[in-house]
């Protein structure tokens, strides 16, 4: 299990140019349109019926077919796609639209050579065991990996509160790492809190663009959580999403 994980991870690390996910900088320039997230649109936290009615959804429903991995490059305002917006600045306030806000997150991010802590050699592949669909296509930071490993050990020994606590610690270190949210959802599920499990999985989805395996796992978890909550229709819907993601 772990043997193949290491080279696979190494390969992914190489491919992605060791672009470790930094705190606060989620990968941005990827094909975000592969999956429709219309599912999680809801006016008041509830899912189901209300979602389907909305016109915007109907639109995105049609987009839900995966468009292959080549995906369009979506212009994300936070993506640092700076030079592409030709605009005239206008000082008159209520007049024309002033140029869109530019986010230059890369400018602010860490000046550290990121290769130095590429993949810790700790072979305990956290994802592999009970992590369902998680596989080597995700690269994790040293601290996050270490904390997920700790949480895994705590969960294995039956200490769900401890595992939960360690995962929240990981979430503070990497608040936008969907794998952490996924594990949090799993532990909440094991603790019998299906409602929170679903919420964390949904939060994870908002950060999981371009990571189809993880999206599928998150949807699958949402399906289980909905089943637990007695929402079989919602569970079926989520299962379909899980299939689409893969």
């Amino acid at each position: 299990m772990n043997k193949w994980l290491i080279p696979a991870v190494a390969a992914v690390a190489l491919l992605s140019g060791c672009s470790t996910v930094q705190r606060g900088s989620i990968p941005v320039e990827d094909s975000g349109t592969a999956v429709s997230n219309s599912e999680r649109i809801s006016a008041n936290g509830g899912f189901r019926k209300s979602t389907v009615k909305r016109p915007a959804q109907a639109q995105s429903q049609t987009q839900a077919i995966p468009q292959g991995d080549t995906g369009v490059v979506v212009m994300v305002p936070g993506g640092g796609a700076v030079a592409s917006a030709p605009i005239s600045t206008s000082p008159i306030t209520p007049g024309p639209i002033t140029p869109g806000p530019i986010d230059t997150s890369p400018v602010q991010s860490a000046p550290i050579n990121q290769g130095s802590y590429s993949m810790p050699s700790t072979p305990s592949g956290i994802p592999s065991a009970n992590a369902g669909g998680l596989s080597a296509d995700e690269q994790l930071d040293g601290p996050v990996l270490a904390l997920l490993t700790t949480a895994q050990q705590q969960q294995a020994s039956g200490d769900l509160n401890g595992a939960s606590s360690s995962l929240e610690r990981a979430q503070r270190v990497a608040p936008r790492e969907p794998q952490v949210l996924y594990r949090l959802a799993q532990v909440r599920m094991a603790q019998g809190d299906a409602a929170q499990a679903e919420q964390f999985a949904r939060r994870g989805l908002t950060f999981a663009n371009g990571r189809p395996d993880l999206q599928a796992s998150l949807w699958e978890l949402i399906a289980q959580a909905r089943e637990k909550q007695g929402d079989s229709a919602g569970a079926t819907l989520a299962r379909q999403k899980a299939k689409v993601s893969l």
């Binding site: 915007a56 639109q59 212009m75 305002p77 936070g78 639209i97 700790t122 601290p143 509160n161 939060r203």
Partner: protein
């Protein structure tokens, strides 16, 4: 020293009667003996009852968040050293043991102390932290091997004290540092291990030393007697009390062994006063004077603490350093005489300075605003006695570094604005949270942050003015078929008649109308007329529903004036509301406490992270986009006079009628802050949201240096090219084309291409980029 004979009375054989009156005396003394025996039985009950039960009540201890260290972490070296200083790390040239740190350029070597956390034990270990810019570039063990994540022990920020304000940190006898027990016995009671409660020998010696005029290094009381005196008796000085004390001491020795008695002594002994709080026991004394755990103390520190027992106030090392030093060295001499330490060790120890921390208070009143929040949250789950007596360990999300920066921002800003007439009477409140975790990190309840009184951050309910507006616009943006960021709004004046017949006629701050504006501009420039019109169109009750979904539990009447923030909220409620906006539409109940451990370090309770999706991320994406424009071009634009343009922020100003309240609420990716300025008597202030609260906020953000806001674009959001004047679909190549986000399907139909590349547009791009960068 009259009591020397009395304790032995019960054991002394009565004198034989030779004369008849002696018989009477015999009978009388027999009666006396019986009475004494009865008294002894009574005392014995007291001794055993109090000693076998829970000996002390310990106030709950409140800890700040532990500082986490990992490679890639955003943390400046200065902030790190501030934290180490507060934790009482000794600065050494080479880090040589727990609680020591050595700074070398960009590298800090330290030996962490280890701590029992909810998740488990953090082991003490040597760590090397290398900084680069404001980041941790490398975290390794001192032998060079990489470390993934290390936690420092958390700063103790206060306690929840009972009325008598007696505080201590309980220690076990096997946790004491080398020399402590030997020194204590050598100085206070040389015969401790051989006597049975009282020591005639030491009394005799004390009398002799006293009368011969030598230096008094020993009192007459045994350690057992001293313990009894402090533990069971009042400070009254009388013969009967001395008698009782001696009897109890012997009874105590009868029931308990020497180590138990010594351990109780170590925890009971009084060593100083900290304001209202009495410092008891060597465990707390060590923290109080050296900022270090007892087990870390070195010979010279042990000697100082033991020396203080004789006169905690007289030998107070902070107030009377010379006396304390002299006393310490005297104790060291005794150790040498008694063979406890070698001459070399004593000589080396004598060369050491006293080494007490300059910090006078152990944070027992330093952060009253945040502690108030913690206490309120705890009181929902615990009884007062649990909090003041059980020694609970409360782990919070408090960030002392951010707190110091928040306090400095308030002080600096008031100093800068002091020229404004009436600014002296203006009070302040501030709440700082991490929107990604929903945790409160800092809190200011009063302009004088160390003043424990009315906590405005939690209790001041004030009209929020334009802070309400994002809720109005969000309500509209949730209907993408009707509203987009580029929908047109009329900003002409109007009036409505309420149900009560009153006419409501809102006005803009500049008392002018602005014709027709784009929807986002209404928010960015905080126009009242267009906002009120929009709010009436979507319905006041719907706006209030949005407010409730954002996390505001307070109920408001559905009056039109609510649309412009006539309703009152507290700063912490505002923080809850804005947190949902900052966190992608996921609401989080505000948390200040992470977990609670028992006095023994057993997990007791957790306050888990909880989230609930309340909004579609797409509409949140749009409202964030509009709130970013508040900062770029609207009422919040003065931030970029101070902060770099690369730092994307979102926020909103708020000003109530006649500038009675000056608000600002805004966030970066990882930091949310709400600032309120106003007068307690609700009088007028010289500040608007932008000229007052925003200035504090800006100052804070500059010091805190947060990560730029960067919400991932949801799948159902598209960026469309529109004409900046008409809002109609345009093409990337057309002059005046700008990109705006829309919920998919609500974007205007694409405009025709303007053909080729216009050289002019190329120029503007550069101008524009330069404009932002400068």
């Amino acid at each position: 020293m009259t009591r020397t004979r009395s304790p032995r009375t019960p054991k002394k054989p009565p004198s034989r009667g030779l004369h008849p009156w002696l018989g009477w005396a015999l009978k009388l003394s027999l009666v006396g003996l019986v009475v004494l025996a009865g008294f002894a039985v009574y005392l014995d009950a007291i001794v055993q009852e109090k000693f076998s039960g829970k000996r002390w009540t310990i106030p709950a201890k409140v800890y700040a968040r532990p500082l986490e260290l990992f490679t890639g972490q955003k943390l400046s070296k200065d902030d790190f050293l501030t934290e180490l200083d507060a934790l009482g790390y000794r600065r050494e040239s080479v880090s040589n043991g727990p609680g020591a740190a050595a700074v070398n350029g960009n590298t800090v070597d330290l030996n962490t102390r280890g701590f029992q956390f909810y998740e488990g034990l953090e082991k003490p270990q040597p760590v090397r932290v290398r900084f680069s810019g404001d980041y941790v570039a490398e975290l390794s063990a001192t032998n060079g091997s990489k470390l993934s994540v290390v936690r420092l022990e958390p700063l103790l920020i206060g306690g929840i004290y009972p009325k008598n304000l007696e505080d201590r940190i309980l220690i076990k006898i096997d946790q004491v540092p080398p020399y402590l027990l030997e020194t204590l016995v050598a100085v206070e009671d040389r015969d401790f291990y051989s006597h049975w409660g009282v020591s005639p020998k030491s009394i005799a010696r004390a009398v002799y030393v006293n009368t011969s005029g030598g230096k008094m290094t020993q009192g007459g009381s045994t350690l057992t007697q001293q313990l009894v005196k402090n533990f069971y008796l009042t400070s009254e000085r009388s013969l009967t009390r001395k008698l009782t004390e001696a009897m109890m001491a012997m009874l105590l020795e009868l029931h308990y062994d020497k180590r138990e008695i010594l351990e109780a002594y170590l925890n009971e002994v009084f060593v100083g006063q900290d304001g209202q709080r009495a410092v008891h026991g060597f465990g707390l004394a060590s923290q109080f004077f050296f900022g270090q755990p007892l087990s870390e103390l070195k010979l010279h520190q042990v000697a100082m603490l033991v020396g203080m027992v004789k006169g905690p106030s007289y030998y107070n090392p902070r107030r009377n350093p010379e006396r304390a030093l002299e006393r310490r060295n005297l104790v060291l001499d005794v150790l040498e005489q008694q063979g406890v330490a070698t001459a070399e060790q004593v000589a080396a120890a004598k060369k050491m300075p006293l080494g007490v921390t300059t910090r006078g208070k152990l944070a027992d009143s330093s952060f009253p605003g945040f502690l108030d929040l913690v206490k309120r949250q705890l009181r929902e789950d615990y009884r007062d006695e649990d909090l003041t007596e059980e020694g609970l360990r409360i782990f919070t999300s408090f960030d002392p570094i951010l707190q110091m920066k928040a306090e400095a921002s308030v002080n600096d800003t008031f100093k800068r604005l002091s020229g404004r007439k009436g600014s002296d009477d203006v009070e302040a409140a501030m709440v700082v949270t991490n929107p990604e975790t929903g945790e409160v990190q800092a809190m200011i309840g009063s302009r004088q942050a160390s003043f424990a009184g009315f906590n405005r951050a939690l209790d001041a309910v004030r009209p929020i003015g334009s802070l309400i507006k994002p809720a109005v616009y969000l309500t509209a943006l949730e209907k993408p078929t009707q509203y987009t960021l580029t929908s047109w709004l009329s900003d002409e004046s109007f009036s409505v008649k309420g149900a009560d017949g009153q006419v409501w006629k809102p006005q803009n701050y500049d008392r002018r109308s602005h014709g027709t504006v784009f929807l986002y501009q209404g928010l960015a420039h905080s126009y009242n007329l267009s906002t009120a019109r929009l709010g009436l169109a979507v319905g006041v009750p719907n706006v209030l529903k949005t407010l409730a979904r954002l996390g505001v539990t307070r109920e408001f009447p559905a009056f039109p004036s609510m649309l412009l923030g006539a309703g009152g909220m507290t700063p912490i409620e505002v923080a809850t509301m804005y947190q949902t906006l900052a966190n992608g539409g996921f609401n989080t109940p505000m948390r200040g406490i992470r977990s609670v451990l028992t006095a023994e370090g057993e997990p007791l309770k957790r306050y888990p992270f909880q989230i609930e999706q309340r909004f579609d991320p797409a509409s949140i994406y749009l409202i964030q986009s509009a709130m970013q424009r508040v900062m770029r071009e609207g009422t919040g634009s003065s931030v970029y006079n101070v902060l770099p343009k690369t730092l994307t922020l979102a926020g909103k100003t708020g000003t109530s009628n006649d500038s009675r309240d000056s608000w600002f609420a805004g966030f970066s990716q990882d930091l949310l802050a709400v600032v309120w300025l106003g007068r307690d008597d609700n009088g007028k202030t010289p500040f608007t949201g932008a000229t007052g609260a925003l200035q504090v906020w800006t100052s804070f953000m500059r010091k805190a240096d947060p990560l730029p806001l960067d919400m991932p674009q949801p799948d159902n959001v598209v960026q469309a090219w529109v004409d900046s004047r008409t809002g109609q679909g345009s093409d990337a190549n057309c002059p005046g084309a700008v990109q705006m986000p829309y919920i998919r399907g609500s974007e205007p139909p694409p405009g025709a291409a303007c053909g080729g590349e216009s050289p002019a547009s190329g120029e503007t791009v550069m101008d524009w980029v330069k404009g932002w960068m400068n």
